[in-house]
């Protein structure tokens, strides 16, 4: 019989609850009923696999997607995707999106009174290598106001989407910059109870990846759910194995 392990559940307190009153948009969108605990099956321990069809070297350098250079401070953003047992997550797809240096997104809904940059779209994607490493070149996004409450400002952040090996390991999050004075006041950052867990969303300045006379380096490691110790059956009874 073939057996495969399920994935671990999130550690208590390390993930946001669905209803978080200080983040006003959650109030009418977060479910009121408790979620139904679903044991993992083949449907949850498998997930989309991306290969060469999504490879695009231009997609990991957000400063080279147009004829000119975008305005702003160039940065190198790199790190590793690993699981809770520190094992690398190889060849998995990472997508990022962000505002430009002035704090404006290239999106029809963003009405912030700040200029668009014709040389910056603000999106990229990359596959991790065999050791789970990834690397993007981009510009540091600007902070921007939003309508959540009076004088609300989002700290500078970059959105991350990571697939990992399974449906159960999907992650969408936001990465912040060290020393940003807006972080302690941000309802979205603060929606996670566990202080250490939310502080892990803050990237670290990194000399090793800083390119002299070119770009500061920031490091952001991403941890996906690890394998559970309990193996599960992946074949139906009576079927050939």
């Amino acid at each position: 019989m073939n057996v495969i392990s399920a994935y671990r559940r999130y550690y208590p307190g390390t993930q946001p609850r669905h209803l978080h009153p200080s983040y006003v948009s959650s109030l009418k969108r977060g479910p009121l009923q408790s979620p139904v605990l679903l044991p993992h099956t083949l449907s949850e321990i498998t997930g989309p696999v991306f290969g060469l069809e999504v490879a695009d070297v231009k997609a990991c350098d957000l400063t080279k997607q147009h004829s000119g250079e975008p305005l702003g401070e160039r940065i190198v953003l790199s790190g590793r995707v690993i699981d809770e047992d520190s094992r690398p997550v190889p060849h998995t797809l990472i997508e990022i999106w962000q505002a430009n240096a002035a704090g404006r997104y290239l999106h029809s809904v963003d009405q912030h009174n700040a200029p668009l940059d014709p040389n910056f779209t603000g999106c990229g994607h990359a596959m991790t290598d065999a050791e789970g490493r990834y690397r993007f070149v981009t510009i540091r996004p600007g902070e921007y106001p939003w309508g959540n409450h009076h004088n609300a400002w989002r700290p500078a952040h970059i959105h991350f989407s990571v697939f990992g090996p399974a449906f159960a390991t999907r992650l969408v999050t936001q990465m912040y910059f060290p020393g940003d004075p807006l972080i302690p006041f941000d309802p979205i950052f603060n929606c996670t109870d566990d202080e250490k867990a939310r502080n892990r969303l803050i990237s670290q300045f990194d000399w090793e990846t800083t390119i002299p006379a070119q770009a500061l380096g920031y490091r952001f490691d991403i941890v996906l759910s690890g394998r559970d110790r309990t193996p599960m059956e992946t074949h139906a009874h009576g079927e050939k194995t």
Partner: protein
Amino acid sequence: MSLHATTWQTVGPFFKIGFSWLYRDNLASPEVSGERVEISGRILDGDGKPVPDGILEIWQANSHGKYAHPDDLQEKSIEPGFSGYGRVPTDDEGRFRFTTIKPGRVPGPDGKLQAPHLAVSVFTRGLLRRLITRVYFPDESSNAADFALNLVDTSRRGTLIAKKIDGRPGALEWNVILQGPGETVFFDV
């Protein structure tokens, strides 16, 4: 000591910038075997208002009940060109639509086959992390014994089963009610 998985944050209102390059509303090209279905519906909030900044991701097996993934060790056929992954945004009225094939049955706990289903992730501005649900199919006798459906209170089970649309063979309606009366069943995965 083990690490803890990174904390989720909302996709926010501007995910289209990062996600649109991989939108896939047709999961099965013509050569892929299986019964064609078109699934459409809306994402609605706790006031019944449409959610125009939402997105669904779909994950499913092929018509033989085999996932295109190395951890699916079943001796069943892979379908070339069928990855089982879809990604569709909502429009200004909160509507989404995708076409695919009805998946085959895959094993569940205790080696019993599950009823055909799609695994679905729901992302919207205002959701601090994704919501996870499933789409099952109408007129499917195996639904009655499906382990996941049977985890759900009978009064709410219907939120997981798509409905046929009269006069349009293969067309199914399935809505995501984020909150309140008729709230869709979401799973903790």
